[in-house]
Amino acid sequence: MANLLIGHVFIKMFKTKALIRLASLCAIIAWVILVFSDITVLFSDLKSLHSGIPTWLPRVMLDVFIISIFYYYKFRIERDENLNFTDLLWKVFATGLIATVISLAVRLILFLLGSTKLATNVIFLDFVYQLHLALFINFLIAAFTSWKRLILYQKSKWLLRAWLAFEILLFFILIYDSIHITISTTITTTAIIITSLLGVVLSANMRWVAYLNFKQKWTSLLLLLLSIFYLVYFLYSVTIWSDVISQQSPVFLDFQSHIFNIALLAFVITYMSFSFLVVLFNLPTSSVFEQKLEEVVNFQRISQSIQTEQNEESVYNILLESSVSSVFADAAWLEIKGSANDQRLFTYQITEMETKDIHAHLEKNNIRGALDQSSDKTKNLSKHLGSLRSTRFRSLLAFPIKVKEETIGTLALLKELPDSFNKEMTRIVSTFANQAGISIENFRLMEEAFQNARYKEELKIAKTVQQSLLPTKLEHDADFEISAFSASADEVGGDYYDTLRISDHEIALIIADVSGKGTTAAFHMSQMKGIFHSLAQQGPNPKDFMAKANKALVYCLERGSFISATYFVINTQAKKIYYSRAGHCPVLIYCASKNKAEYLKDKGTALGMVRSHDYCNFVEDNEISYAAGDVMVLYTDGITEAKNNKGEEFGYERLAHALQENAQKSSNEIEESVIKSLYAFSGSEDINDDYTSMTVKFK
């Protein structure tokens, strides 16, 4: 596809080049024939001979020459899209320059020849004249084509039509000239009037001038002035020679009798002078136009800065820069109030000391709501600066920068002249300030979204870690069956349970709940797992286990964090459970002989709460016996604190009841029933806490 396109462009380019060559060849041939035929006609007329060359030939050849030149420039100038306005003027100027140089060279030759026979020879003079005429027409048509592009810049439909009509009229004039028959003077006059009117109307199209910057305007003026000079010079030279020749030969083809040339000349001169004057008078306002353009660009920069830049700082810098350049401020500063005491200051041509002085001065004079952050109104504070002697500034304009209705900073602009901020400037800068506010708001929203995404990702990882810390297989024994359940809310909790076989007849169990949520909870949970696996192996009694675990954890848990846990050792030989509770939910036991589920009452403080050695005074060793059919339920507070839509908690009563109802079933079924009744109570399976339970059924 791309190749095709390039190929197409290439062919087009090649075609254009060929056409340019063809046009120039035609022009040269036509001119050579024109010169020869004209000289022959002139010569035979002088000698009163019959030349055999028809008198119309030079005229037709002149038409062919003109049309060829016209097409030559059509391809050279009109079709070239790379040319800008000054380039067009430059082309006209360059054509004029070359023509003038050639003309001056001919004049030099004439001067060197002096008053020799050749110099006064009519035929030689005719040649010189034809050369000048060709250069002149070439120059005129180059200008004509350039003007066409300038006039048709930002063209409308009717403008295109008017131009087409103008070209057709000129063409008819050209044909009419060569036929050399006067049809009717009224028609001729009407045609000339229409052409001139059209020419003037078309010449009024000067939109391109507005798009020139100051420098380009100066260049244009110079180029136009020089082009006018060349034109006048040529007009003068061609007129002189034609006068000289026509005095000697009546058949001489005077260019002045050629209406086309006159019309073309008139049009080119009109537009040239119009342009010159318009550019000249537009010079003083060009800075305003440039200023407006710059404002638009600045505005765009502020609104796009978020996409391209990576921080708020660049937005502030762009805001400061744009505001200063838009209102020609002599100095400016931008203060941004960040979180608590973190104030950032961006300055332009002013020191921090000076801003503080101005601040202090305004405060001293009790001018409220100016630079102070609570102000939400744009204020012109110029009059108050008058009384501050130490500063060179006499005008001050302050703007609040707001993000989500909240003022986050102040932009202050300063000028050395009094009363130099007008309404227009205030409006522009306030637009800038608003846009900057929007940009910053967008930036913060984006940052937040990133932050959230990162946090979610972190949680996901923490959750995976937490899940992997829970055992996949629990220790079973001939004496009991065991099953566990754990479900967690979106937020990562810190529920942990595990089992470990100490010896043939001893099995350790643990259930723990780490305070807090998220990654730290998962981290502490992994520490707990480490402690359990290393300490339980040595088979300490439960109280010792807690004391050692506390000692180990005190160094890792931060202030305010703790772990509640219950540690059990089931001795299947003695049919006893030894346990120690450290701040965890009380153990729920179903006694088959009594057919009653109840909570064990004992004391124990959570791990990490007491940081001294006397922690062992806060935990105790407990033991109970078990018999076949007894059930022990371990759980975390997520279950007892689960709420229904009325805000009631599931509570200890309901849990005990659920166990008592289902105690005859297997451990698995008991657990399922308990969880089912929990979900039935809370009314949904959307949990907002972690539910963990471990059920042991003795056989």
Binding site: S515, G560, T605
Partner: protein, 116 residues
């Protein structure tokens, strides 16, 4: 949601907690206690009569001040706890570490005794 009010009575700073204390509102409790300690009160009473629920994070706040209060010899007494809230404290073993009384009078009395 929680509302925490502070008022001074007979040289004691009374922190009244109204509502629930969960992970997010525990920060307010932490701030209130920190302020009270920072202002140099030697007797701080916590009115829990309108405290409906306290999460482990809230308990962690009380726990985290135990050592500092002991070091600075500040008498710190909680009173008026609802049964359910008190239960939470005792399950965790915090009831043994903190001074908890039923009424304001008892709490004041204890605070005065402790500060001697």
């Amino acid at each position: 949601m929680v509302h925490i009010k502070r008022l001074q009575e007979e040289g004691a700073d009374i922190i009244a907690i109204v509502g629930d204390i969960d992970a997010s509102s525990s920060i307010e409790l932490d701030l209130a206690i920190a302020k009270s300690v920072g202002e140099g009160f030697t007797k701080i009473l916590v009115d829990c009569s309108a405290l409906e629920y306290i999460s482990s994070a809230g308990l962690g706040v009380f726990m985290s001040y135990i050592e500092e209060l002991r070091d600075k010899k500040i008498s710190f007494v909680l009173y008026g706890l609802k049964e359910r809230v008190l239960n939470t404290f005792s399950i965790l073993g915090l009831a043994d570490l903190l001074n908890i009384r039923d009424t304001k009078q008892e709490a004041k009395k204890l605070a005065n005794e402790l500060s001697i």
